[in-house]
Amino acid sequence: MVTTIEKEYTVHLDTKNRFTLRGAKTRFYRVKVLKGGHVVLSPQKLVPGSKISKDTLCQIAESIRNFKRGRVSGPIDVAAARELLRG
């Protein structure tokens, strides 16, 4: 991630271990605490929920995996099925 420093300031924690982010641009952050004591905040945003259910997405992913390996079913006889339903 290439970025430039826009602001740099020192904060101190209050009695409840909180500090204020100055000029925060988003409401949500992903917090990563590194071993050396550094804390990284990555901005998060709200996104629309998926219009496709999880099960269907899994099925699509699995089918595409099969498709790319050339593993699909034999041809489906749609006409015969229609005929069967009409009869």
Binding site: V47, I52, S73, P75
Partner: protein, 139 residues
Amino acid sequence: MTFQIFMGHPEMEALWKELLDKSRRNKLSSDEREFLDKWSKALGYLSQNPKHPGLQTHEIDDLSRKFGMKVWQSYLENNTPGAGRIFWAYGPDRRQITILAVERHPESGKRKAYERVHLSRFPKPAASSENPRDKRRLP
């Protein structure tokens, strides 16, 4: 121009065969019969003309980007809210279509999935935030 139809998932193929088998033995429930009727009708249109107006076929860009190949969606019914849908792709060869998934009842209509929002890659709320002591105000 006609297309051959393939199933991309063994479970889907098994479902198709099971429904046909039940139909032959006259054992289909009314729901199953209705579903098989819509599904086979949609596959019939798809094999004749994937852009048939009744299918309302359109590409799902997000899925195409995600899987690196064009993924299309068609509806099982026309002008019906909450209609079932099929997801498919062209291939494996020319004039062939593979069905990737079939969804009988999208959940969107019932649970307002189109309006729901969720946090992108945001962790579940920590258990500590449910601690009533955290809500206590300082004097």
